[in-house]
């Protein structure tokens, strides 16, 4: 039998199953909170994001446009090879950094010590940062293979709730939601930070 017939058959089975007890489509009631009490970038949200990320064992550093370069230098301290995506603001790029041209293989990326990117949005309630492969964030592999990810979050990108976060990202782009460094609880449900993803996550919170 061809694949086409499997499709027809599964759909026919579903219709048969539903026809025995037809139900009217209901409109789900969304009684939960869809917007937070604070507007994006509010100081309360920056505090909460910091607290939640720290709870996940990520490091968070506050910066202003004036201090940003020195904060980034400190975040990248001890790394020799730093990679940045092609669209990162020029003033953020460390002198020694390599700009990703999309050509490095996974094995070559494994020899990179750290990556420095921007982000798309962040949610304070859950301590979550989203990267979406835009030019200032880069293809997914570069924020995955290097062992240290330094991510700049602009204050205005910080919303309170998960619904607000999802409304600010484009589902057609490849998205990665990051809440702390990689972790596992698979042995006796004890949390261990740092498995396959970057073992160190440093978030730089940039306010005016």
């Amino acid at each position: 039998m061809t694949t086409g017939s499997a499709r027809d058959e599964v759909l026919a089975r579903i219709r048969h199953a539903l026809s025995a007890s037809p139900t009217e489509p209901i409109e789900p009631v969304r009684g939960y909170r869809r917007t937070g009490q604070y507007s994006p970038g509010a100081p309360q949200l920056l505090d909460r994001l910091t607290e939640r990320l720290t709870d996940y064992r990520a490091a968070v550093h506050a910066a202003t446009p004036r201090t940003l370069v020195s904060v980034l230098e400190a975040a990248l301290d001890g790394t020799r090879r730093v990679l940045v995506p092609p669209g990162l603001p020029a003033e953020w790029i460390p002198a020694s950094a390599v700009i990703d041209d999309g050509g490095m293989s996974p094995a070559e990326l494994d020899a990179v010590d750290a990556v420095l990117t921007a982000c798309t949005a962040a949610a304070a309630d859950t301590g979550t940062i989203v990267v979406d492969a835009s030019p200032d964030q880069g293809r997914r592999a570069i924020t995955l293979i290097p062992d240290r990810h330094v991510c700049v979050v602009r204050a205005a990108q910080v919303v309170q709730t998960v619904p607000e976060l999802l409304s600010r990202v484009d589902p057609h782009k490849p998205l990665t939601f990051i809440s702390g460094p990689s972790a596992t609880s698979d042995i006796e449900l004890r949390r261990v930070e740092g498995v396959h993803g970057p073992r160190t996550l440093i978030v730089v919170l940039l306010s005016d």
Partner: protein
């Protein structure tokens, strides 16, 4: 042999081993209960996760509203499941993916095997996935000469230990750190012989072991937590980064997904991405969630295949009560709060889906006659319903399946059970007042074999009752005698 008509909802075939245990639950449970190491491991692990979940849930003041929304979105999706799947197929195809349909496990396995061979690969890296466990994909690939590498830490422990998963979220929950260390020392090539039994060191050993696989693999196989029909977006929720590795690095990605995982719109994720992490690992959010729609030029796999799997799901959908089991988002909160699961562990259920949800989902997928003891693997205490993030009324489903099982056996005129005989006799005796009065007085004889208010074992056929529970000692007087005495006194 019964004839199968085109388009009739079908149960999972009897040769799907991951849904058919080798022995009934009571027998398997008895073996498990005798294993004191297992009970210690499980007791410690479930107590830890129950505490974390309770704290994470208590923090959310609109938790109940989220649960109601989670329930209603799933119910609305199931009512139009065919339409949502067609929209999903269209959206994924438009964005460069290829969609396949599989009626059952064997068909899904065949499609994956052909795709891996077409990619010229003899091994795949895998993201933890219940659907591929259910269909026995690793075994099917092995028969075709393709090695499947599990990359989730717990799945790796299970695979290296030649074991089977015992929990939906933490498949190696039955192993403690010392056992994990032994498995790694025995099975992991090139592992440091001085490896300690510290969870961090063990996790680092897994990182080193899998790193080369991730960087060189040509094909990855994953499941999906959700698929958004509107946008064609697939979602995988994980912690370790092994999921990101598999979903990003190999040039070909194959995703096997049960048809019930579809959600209509992107906004629906705002409900489930709040409910799932807090219910499963007790975290505000899991470390990594990856989403992708078809293929993206220059980023991630350039070939993407989505396999939509039935394997009994349409039969579940055809049961207008049991249908609710398809709402499950595989968080495993019901396992962690279940007094039965906590004591027997997952293997006793004989299915890749253990615990309260497994006790309903497994017989619904296979037909209750293939798993007749599972609906009884519960005390009906209701803790599972309270914990379920999408409000699946598991106790009612268990009762429904117990009734179905009795009806089906009666229809098939199987030998009546001692329970059925007892009920027939009871109805006859109770319809005759004098006979009933005699019988209740005769029950006093039971006092002769009672010890400290309890009867521990009755002669056959009543032994079927006392095999699993004590019977109370009958009172010194019957209700009628007590009533008449009371009247005389007043």
């Amino acid at each position: 042999m019964s004839q199968v008509f085109l388009g009739m909802p079908a149960h999972a075939p009897a040769d799907v081993r991951a849904l058919h245990g080798t022995q009934p639950f009571p027998a398997a449970a008895r073996t498990a209960l005798a294993d004191s190491q297992l009970r210690r491991n499980l007791g410690a692990a479930t107590a830890t996760i129950r505490g974390k979940r309770a704290a994470a849930v208590a923090e959310v003041d609109d938790w109940e509203q989220l649960r109601f929304a989670g329930q209603q979105i799933k119910a609305a999706t199931m009512a139009r499941l065919d339409e949502h799947l067609i929209r999903l197929e269209q959206a994924v195809t438009e964005r460069g993916g290829t969609v396949h349909w599989a009626r059952d496990a064997a068909e899904a396995n065949r499609i994956v095997t052909e795709l891996v061979k077409a990619a010229g690969a003899d091994e795949v890296v895998k993201v933890k996935s219940m659907a591929t466990q259910e269909i026995g994909l690793n075994e099917a690939l092995a028969e075709a000469g393709i090695a499947a590498w599990e990359t989730d830490l717990a799945e790796l422990i299970v695979q290296l230990g030649h074991d089977t998963p015992s929990h939906i979220l933490v498949p190696a929950i039955h192993r403690n750190r010392a056992e994990v260390r032994e498995i790694f020392l025995r099975e992991m090539p090139g592992v440091d012989p001085d490896l300690a039994d510290d969870p961090r060191e063990l996790a680092m050993a897994a990182r080193t072991h899998l790193r080369r696989k991730f960087l060189t693999a040509q094909v990855a196989v994953s499941g999906a937590n959700f698929a958004v029909a509107d946008t064609g977006t697939l979602v995988v929720v994980e912690s370790e980064g092994n999921g990101r590795m598999c979903l990003t690095l190999p040039p070909t990605l194959i995703t096997v997904m049960g048809i019930e995982k579809v959600v209509p719109s992107w906004a629906d994720l705002e409900v489930y991405l709040q409910l799932l992490p807090r219910s499963s690992t007790g975290e505000r959010m899991n470390p990594y969630t990856s989403t992708w729609s078809g293929v993206t030029a220059g980023d991630g796999p350039q070939e993407f295949h989505l396999i939509l799997l039935d394997n009994g799901r349409t039969a579940v959908l055809a049961d207008d009560v049991g249908r609710e089991a398809l709402h499950c988002i595989r968080c495993s909160a019901c396992l962690n709060v279940c007094p039965v699961y906590e004591r027997t562990g997952g293997h006793a259920y004989g299915s890749v889906y253990p615990g309260p949800i497994g006790a309903v989902l497994t017989p619904l997928l296979t037909g209750v006659l293939d798993n007749p003891t599972l609906p009884y693997a519960s005390t009906l205490c209701g803790a599972c319903f309270d914990a379920c993030p999408v409000r699946i009324d598991i106790p009612s489903l268990l009762v429904h399946l117990r009734a179905r099982s009795t009806e089906l056996r009666a229809e098939r005129r199987l030998v009546p059970t001692s329970e059925a005989v007892a009920m027939t006799v009871a109805s006859w005796v109770m319809s005759k007042p004098r006979l009933f009065a005699w019988a209740t007085r005769a029950a006093r004889l039971g006092r002769l074999i009672a010890r400290r208010g309890r009867i521990r074992s009755l002669p056959p056929p009543l032994s079927a009752w006392t095999a699993t529970r004590d019977a109370p000692e009958p009172p010194t007087s019957t209700f009628r005698e007590w009533w008449l005495n009371g009247k005389e006194r007043s």
